[in-house]
């Protein structure tokens, strides 16, 4: 059977170890707007995006990278969890992987559609921030739920 090329199973555990603390940090950051003083760095920006005045695209800028670090950890962790093999990756697991991904994309856009209809102004930016992560989070939740559901021992096992 031709299966998806996925990362080895051990990356799933590493992914969880990164994703769980990073998502807590991410939620906290989005509420508090906290920026760590020690996390300033010189970064290369394609779009520096300064609201005040003219900024040159493709230039080096010095900025706080708290959001950058937490965002990268969230996405990196979630990607590892989502795209690592199961202990025994086979054709059925691959099929629930695909169906979960389809489900996640559909649900994600359904909620985004609702957000377009009912959220306006700067609040919509918050929606966009969360929406960057929801496809992966929904996929991970759905896929692991289905795995768990079908892993339950059958009562009439003889």
């Amino acid at each position: 059977m031709l299966l998806l090329r996925l990362l080895p199973h051990r990356f799933k555990i590493i992914g969880w170890l990164i994703l769980i603390p990073a998502s807590f940090a991410g939620v906290l950051l989005s509420f508090s707007g906290f920026q760590a003083n020690w996390l300033y760095a010189r970064v290369f920006a394609i779009f520096p995006g300064d609201i005040f005045g003219f900024t040159r695209p493709f230039s080096f800028i010095r900025t706080n990278i708290t959001d950058t670090v937490v965002g990268i950890l969230c996405i990196g962790g979630a990607m590892l969890v989502a795209f690592s093999r199961e202990k025994k990756e086979d054709e059925y697991i691959a099929s629930i992987r695909f169906s979960s991904l389809l489900w996640a994309v559909c649900i994600n856009y359904f909620f985004l559609l609702l957000a377009f209809l009912f959220v306006y102004g700067t609040s919509f930016l918050t929606v966009m921030v969360y929406n960057m992560f929801t496809v992966l989070i929904l996929f991970i939740t759905r896929f692991n739920y289905l795995l768990f559901k079908h892993a339950k021992p059958v009562p009439d096992e003889k």
Partner: protein, 66 residues
Amino acid sequence: MKNNIKVERAIKGLTQEDLANKVSVSRQTINAMEANKYVPSTVLALKIARVFSKQVEDIFFLEKKD
């Protein structure tokens, strides 16, 4: 498509885990097939038939709606 994997398994005295190991798939796969929630690939159907020393059509059957 229906199948009688469960019956064949009982005759051979195999658990879902045993059968899963023999055809190198996860236990979830055997579970889903027995619950008629998953139609296996031809390769897997042939492997399962071989474990039970039977023809594929003795284990898997078409239904009217197929």
